[in-house]
Amino acid sequence: MRYAPGRIEAHMQKFSAFSLLRQALGGHQGWQPQWRSPEPKPEYDAVIIGGGGHGLATAYYLAKEHQLTNIAVLEKGWIGGGNTGRNTTIIRSNYLFDESAALYDHALKLWEGLSQDLNYNVMLSQRGVMMLAHTIHDKQTAMRHIHSNRLNGVDNEWLTPQQAKEFCPPLNIAANMRYPIIGAALQRRGGVARHDAVAWGYARAADARGVDILQNCEVTGIRRDASGRVEAVETTRGVIRTKKIGVVAAGHTSTVMGMAGLRMPLESYPLQALVSEPVKPIFPCVVMSNTIHAYVSQSDKGELVIGAGTDAYVSYTQRGGLHIAAHTLDAICELFPMFRRMKMLRNWGGIVDVTPDRSPVIGKTPVPGLYVNCGWGTGGFKATPGSGHVFAHTIAKDEPHPINAAFRLDRFRDGTLIDEAAAAAVAH
């Protein structure tokens, strides 16, 4: 049965101060599940493979902006259990190249209105992202980014070491550090958001518009008709017919695309993150250092949230080597001596799909009806709303949005790479 979108929205419990109060008076017995758990229909107008933030956002914008509501999101695990719940929640848009700045700032602008749009508090906190410079080369790279960002309307400014310490008091700017800080680039609009809430908020809002979210539904095959066009997906919950498939499978993109006979310009690596024991608010912003490899912020719960690097080799283990995490902790202890005696509580890995130029692929594929959104590498969370928005446009119109036109798959054939790898000199 197909519901009119407005009808379903009426079913969704709106969050407001009033609804909180009313539920409190009722002993919180009246809350409903945030989204339905429907049985798969035999056919959908479009199927999104991957129920992470990007896939759910794609489904949401397909329903909201393109009135495509007979669609399903297929998730092999559970919503929020993949990379959406494994990242370090950092949001920024200070990328070097015009194409990247446009894409990531498109996302940042959507972030700024997302809680209202979804009626779900994603806890966006624009506390500023500060990227440290330790060498003359770092400073030159940072200045080039700052000027490029300004020309693209993206905020980014240079701070002296003293200004950096004023902005982030725990920062060690001593001259006798192994890699002394000679300045920092600050994007004040950058910050963090609560990653689980992003997945849940998009899932709830997409569901309210009629999108079927099918969890524990792993895709095992992609069927194509005689002309080569996609016609169905085979899943652990049965065969689902569809004319359009959007693959948003992050680290498993190569596996899924292989089902359609395509080889991708991707390699998958475990990327680690870890959190400390929770402490009182001490750390006011996000600090990153590409050169000595540190990413740190403090969650509202009080944990330090720390991003480590990727393992050197292709792997799907969701673990990562201990020496990778230890390397990052070395850097953090040097930058913030007050953290030297803190205990780390948990560490984990997520599988990230990395392209040769470290820019994503969002677009059509050689297979008619098959679209792909992948290659976000170590930094996809920040792009979630923008990625879903332009990918939904690509699927609905069968042509890219102007913002993702340059991120097409065949740039690896004609050489028009968007080489953020060279621009950042490290994973980002």
């Binding site: 190569s254 080889r263 991708m264 991707l266 080799y313 283990t317 054939r413």
Partner: protein, 97 residues
């Protein structure tokens, strides 16, 4: 950290090695006849296997020689290592546990 069995030096810790990506990608004998699709396939497209993966390693801080390995990317366990230039090994009877 992985323990990697260099075919020349024996088992050594991962830190002594650098990773060389997918193995058995052969540079075209006559590059000038390739079209753009064939170049893209050679330069950029990768198997990225979930399961047995044929890959290159270099014992950088040891003998400094390249060699090939077969590793299960779902467990990170090595099935075998072998010298560069030799064909893909016959894995029948090899356990990946």
């Amino acid at each position: 950290m992985l323990l990697i069995d260099c075919p020349y030096c024996g088992p050594r810790p991962e830190l002594e090695f650098s990773y060389g990506g997918e193995a058995h990608l052969v540079r075209p004998a006559d590059p000038s006849v390739l079209n753009d699709d064939e170049w893209a396939a050679f330069l950029f497209m990768r198997g990225n296997q979930k399961g047995l993966h044929y890959e290159r390693w270099r014992h950088l801080h040891g003998c400094a020689r390249f060699f090939n390995a077969v590793r299960d990317t779902t467990t990170d366990k090595f099935v075998t290592t072998y010298e560069t230039g030799t064909p893909k090994p016959d894995l029948a009877g090899k356990s990946n546990g």
